[in-house]
């Protein structure tokens, strides 16, 4: 099988590699859930998926990917269906290792806007809203964002903070009352981004094969620093792509 792949496939593979075995992951639908399902199948068999519809430990069936977080497909072979509020409360209690989610608009401190462009009550563009994204960003022990890398998405300051990451840097997350967590990494179609430990500003940690620091900077609406060591990610392997494509044969999320 060819290892050529499209942007959504690259993103899903790179995201799946972030997840470790024997952990719990709160996964949003779409590419994050697809990536979590791939990780579980390939290298993290004891990864426990938590889905906001109130689902713990499902086994997603290849070809029957859920469209929403609370339909029968999402809960296939689940170990527990605690209900929505209680699923989130596991995270508030500190039991969820990783929050895994997408984002419409993201800023240099990792904050995400999925609410509105323009004034909240008179929006130019109204987006669907937070869903559980705010809760995942507030309550998981670590958050990994999975998103296409486009200049219009990577803005200096989001117009509306739907999901808080480091807020304005400088300890404002902790000062707001968020006791733990925060965005550790942003996986994009061009590379892997992290955050400066001091300033909490986003920086480049790795580039995907064929991309450069320059292409990443050209597609980002704010200044991006560099991590002390810059890596190049290994391209998707044939078996990763094969498993991924089998999960979404209708190409609902892989395009």
């Amino acid at each position: 099988m060819s290892t050529l792949c499209n942007a959504a496939e690259l993103l899903a593979v790179m995201a799946s590699r972030q997840l470790r075995d024997d952990t719990t992951v709160f996964a949003g639908v779409g590419v994050p859930l697809l990536a979590a399902a791939l990780a579980k199948q390939r290298h993290a068999p004891r990864l426990t998926l938590v889905i906001e519809g109130g689902i713990i430990g499902p086994e997603i069936a290849p070809g029957r990917l859920p469209i929403s977080t609370n339909e029968m497909r999402a809960g296939r072979r689940a170990q527990m269906l605690p209900g929505i509020t209680d699923a989130f409360l596991f995270a508030q209690r500190g039991f969820v290792d990783v929050g895994f989610m997408g984002g419409a608009q993201i800023d240099q401190y990792g904050n995400i806007n999925t609410t509105a462009i323009g004034d909240y009550w008179k929006p130019k563009v109204r987006l669907p809203g937070t869903g559980g994204a705010n809760d995942i960003a507030s309550l998981c022990r670590e958050v990994i964002i999975v998103t296409a890398h486009e200049k219009r998405r990577f803005v200096p300051r989001v117009e509306f903070v739907t999901s808080p990451a480091w807020l304005r840097g400088d300890g404002s997350r902790r000062a707001a009352g968020l006791l733990f967590g925060g965005v550790s990494r942003v996986v994009t179609t061009l590379g892997l981004l992290g955050f400066d430990p001091e300033t909490k500003r986003m920086l480049i940690e790795a580039v995907h094969a064929g991309e450069t620091v320059e292409t990443i900077r050209a597609n980002t609406g704010f200044e991006l620093g560099l991590a002390p060591t810059l890596e190049t990610t290994a391209p998707p392997a044939a078996d990763e792509l094969e498993m991924l494509r089998a999960l979404d044969p209708e190409r609902r999320f892989l395009g």
Binding site: V29, G30, E52, G53, G54, I55, A61, R64, I67, S68, T69, N70, E71, M72, R73, G75, R76, R77, L81, P82, G83, I84, T85, F88, L89, Q92, T115, Y120, W121, K122, P123, K124, V125, R126, L127, P128, G129, T130, G131, G132, A133, N134, D135, S138, L139, F160, V161, T162, S163, P164, L167, S172, R173, A175, A176, G177, L178, L179, R252, F253
Partner: protein, 285 residues
């Protein structure tokens, strides 16, 4: 239900939505409603286009990722005709839970530091023990809850299979509780599995037997959501805008005099297919 009521809708997105009750609410031409639902789907679009709602209190509104951002929601919210009051998913769940517990608010660690705090006016408080900042999530006490369940008995004791969603909390928080059920069971049947009862009969004001009462949304284990129907519905909106929903309401809500006539529009074959698909997904593995 009266004009101006604050209505909480059970289920979540396209799961166990009380669509038979929503259809009746449309047929009664209610006005000025506030709708509260954690994730809002087609029922929110119907109520917007029908002119029944002034405000929707929710964490998210659209149908689902493959169908994009709701064009109907954008049209009504961006033009200022309907207010969309956004809370995080957990915060809305805790609002119902605080209502269910009969307390004015619950302390929580969510929504803090975000701009969602200002939308619904959520306040913070200082933990009297540690001094930490906490969110004070305000209780929600809806006038009316509309719910759809799997089975209920003549006393109104309700059992739900699969996803509990927020229905049990909503039923406790609301003043009036209206329920439709897939099946009416005997008193003995309830008593054989009392651990399955999630809403006691003394909370329920009215109960109606409506098989397929959530269709074309799903009912766990009984029928899968009809994604083909959603595709046709959104394609019509893509072609004609929100007026396509007005046509849809004529055909599905105002036209058919009974719920059986409504189901006939989908046809027995479609219902049987969706029933089969639900069994495949929930059969013990």
């Amino acid at each position: 239900m009266k004009d101006g009521d604050y209505v909480a809708v059970g289920g979540c997105l396209f799961s166990r939505t009380p669509l038979a009750l929503v259809r009746e609410l449309l047929r009664q031409r209610r006005r000025g409603l506030t709708l509260a639902r954690n994730l809002t789907c087609t029922e929110g679009e119907f109520l917007m286009v029908a002119g029944a709602v002034e405000r929707i209190v929710t964490a998210w509104m659209s149908i689902g990722l493959p169908w994009g951002v709701s064009k109907v929601m954008r049209h009504y919210v961006e033009s200022g005709r309907v207010a969309l009051e956004e809370w995080s998913h957990l915060a809305l769940g805790l609002r119902f839970r605080a209502g269910a517990m009969g307390v004015p608010f619950l302390p929580a660690l969510t929504m803090l530091g975000s701009d969602l705090m200002t939308v619904g006016g959520m306040k913070t408080l200082q933990d009297p023990y540690t001094g930490e900042t906490l969110a004070a999530v305000p209780a929600l006490f809806p006038d009316v809850a509309v719910l759809h369940v799997h089975r209920a008995d003549m006393f109104g004791n309700c059992q739900i299979d699969g996803y509990p969603h927020m229905d049990a909390d909503i039923a406790r928080a609301a003043t009036t509780v209206l329920v439709t059920t897939e099946e009416i069971v005997t008193d003995d049947a309830t008593r054989r599995h009392p651990d399955r009862t999630v809403i006691p009969g003394f909370l329920v004001d009215a109960l109606v037997h409506v098989p397929f009462g959530a269709f074309p949304h799903e009912c766990y284990g009984l029928y899968e959501a009809d994604f083909d129907h959603f595709g046709e519905y959104t394609a019509a909106i893509d072609a004609a805008g929100p007026t396509a929903v007005a046509d849809y309401l004529e055909r599905y809500a105002y036209g058919p005099p009974t719920f059986a006539d409504y189901l006939d529009l989908f046809g027995g074959e479609r219902l049987a297919r969706q029933t089969r698909r639900a069994r495949e997904l929930t059969a013990s593995a």
